[in-house]
Amino acid sequence: MDHFPELTYSMYVDRELAGPERLRVQEHLARCEACRRLVAALEVENRVLADTFQMTDPEVIAAQGNIGRSLVITVVSALAVALGLNWLVSGVEYLAPGVTSWVSPLNLGGLEGFFFSNALDLMREAPVVLDGLVTMLGLVVIAAIVFSILRHLMARHPMPVAILATALFALVAADPAKAIEKRSGQLVRVGPDQVVEDSLVTSGEAVQIDGTVNGSVIAPARRVIVRGDIKGDLVVGGQQVEISGTVEGNLFVWCQTLTVAGQVGRGIYFWGQTLQLDPSGRVNTDVWAGGDTLRLGGTVGRDVAWFGGAIDSSGAIGRNLQVHTGLLTVAKSAHIGGNLEAEVHNKQDAQIDPGATIGGKTEINLIKRSPSHYADPKFYLWQAIWLAAALILGLILNWLTPVLFEASLNTGGGLLRAAGIGFLALVATPVAAIIACLTLVGIPLGVLGLILWGVSLYLAKVFVGAALGRGVIQGRAGERPAFALALLAGLIIVFVTINLPYVGPWLSFLVTLVGLGLAILGAYRSRVRPPAAPAGL
């Protein structure tokens, strides 16, 4: 007996055979039990496939809840990272003793003095370092945008992107012409007649450089002594660092005490307890330092910026001295080529000898210490008022143009994409508006652009609140949650987040970026617009 191919039976159960062929198959099935069993099996398969395809729809509802889960994952990850960092610091201390042990975790006073009075003042009131921080933040955001773009490209064209990424990495990675010499031991020493041709990385209790290193030196150690010559940079994390020789590059130091009696070809970047520049010491460019005490007896070619407990200046500074400090002492022998700008708590904390030479102007400002706003009930009242205003605005905006709220934050990719678009809008819009204003005919457009930009910055919180709220509040099955409720929930989360101590301003910036991005995505989707909120919104 000739059987039909399985493909024919597959078409038969799909009811896709033409009349005459269908009849022939039916006649064969009437005679062949094996083929009848096969056809029955194929029919069961079809039913299973149809049922499986029909059960997909709940995903739509499940997708809305992801952001809540994402938030939990983020918080747990942050905790995991914090714990991991804690273990990492312990590991570092084990491998490179002296790097952190002098900052005693048991000495809260020491921690307070080291971190809180310096680091947080730094974050709040230090314009010089703020430039660096903003640049760093800009780089971080640009990196996030590049990462987001790469991630999307990667999904579509993995091989070319992988090759490109590898090539880029190879270009920016360590110069292949320079090797790195690694040395470890209780005492790592480069003797007076020794020359290390490459850069040097050490691990041990103490490092002593009496000879010459033709590259840079990275030396986490309890004690580092440089009597010889380092052609590149010196990067140190430790307890005591003494430079009586020459470092032709920069000095990047985190330690308890840094004493410089020799020459530094470029700048010193220091964070620790005490930095002492002896009268014989010379720094050709800048000194940026933060810590407990700075003693400047030597010569600094350009600027000095100090954030810390006390500064004693008796040497020469080529340009400006900018300090934010508890106590400023400028001796008679001090010579400052440019301006002296100081922020102190009280006028008597700035003691400037009349005999000191200051080439530019002298400005002493008092640091105002206002009580924490968290203790003020009015702060909470105002936040509640701002929240109510944002809620009302959001409801009005949703009534007028609901499509602006369509963009979602259901995935990490969506968040990055919104942040990326928001960053571009944040930076590009005012630039474009100003350019438009430079052409006279474009002034109305430029002004309108700037107004819209300003309004969007304010409304950014509303868009983020709406997207967050929809993610954390589940609606009835098959429908989205009530917009007002979702917006209220989301705005509460946003207002709490942006008012968190210390990280609040940064999170507020992030909310602005994401909110701008969401608004633009929503507006883009409205360009040929439909609707009105569907039933239930």
Binding site: E45, R156, P530
Partner: protein, 184 residues
């Protein structure tokens, strides 16, 4: 929603009634998303595609004819958009290899792993296996069993011959059986 009411909503939507368009969105969003999810394979893409279909609806609905049931028409529009998107995603324009509609002698086979599926957990496995199919098999299978399109309609949408559609669906089922046999 009864048929008469739906027809009224459709005809208001064709006159650019925003509320009617919103009602259609509420009624069919889940179904459209489900189809996009199956065809495109990624949730983010499915959300984008769903949004795009409804963004274009005010314009596209003007070409709707009542001879075809509206849900079928909407799913057809959706699958057209998704297939175009898949084509754009692939470097190779020919998303669907034109397979010869061969006739093989019958190895009589009586059981398939698909027949063993009796509960939701089993259907989850099948769903994952479908999602893992390459687009050239997944798309015609989805159009057949999700959108209920005939071979001729699928052929027209994908620009293929009827026999090729039959072969692709057949191969899709073979691959599903293999995948499910490996996991059980």
């Amino acid at each position: 929603m009864d048929e008469a009411h739906l027809q009224m909503v459709i005809s208001r939507a064709m006159d650019d009634d925003a509320e009617a368009l919103g009602e259609l969105y509420g009624l069919f969003r889940a179904r459209v998303f489900g189809l996009c999810r199956h065809l495109l394979g990624r949730q983010e893409d499915a959300e984008d595609a769903t949004s795009e279909v409804f963004t274009r609806l005010p314009k596209s609905i003007k070409s709707y004819e009542a001879s075809l049931p509206f849900p079928r028409w909407l799913l057809s529009v959706t699958s057209h958009y998704c297939v175009d998107r898949l084509r754009r995603r692939q470097l190779e324009q020919r998303l669907f290899e034109v397979e010869p509609a061969e006739s093989l002698p019958l190895p009589v086979r009586e059981t398939s792993p698909l027949q063993q599926v009796i509960d939701d957990e089993g259907r989850d496995k099948v769903k994952r296996a479908i999602a893992a199919l390459p687009p050239q098999y997944r798309v015609p299978l989805t159009l057949r069993y999700y959108s209920d399109l005939s071979y001729d309609e699928i052929a027209e949408q994908l620009g293929l011959g009827r026999a090729n559609v039959a072969t692709l669906i057949f191969r899709a089922k073979q691959q599903l059986r293999r995948a499910l046999s490996e996991t059980t």
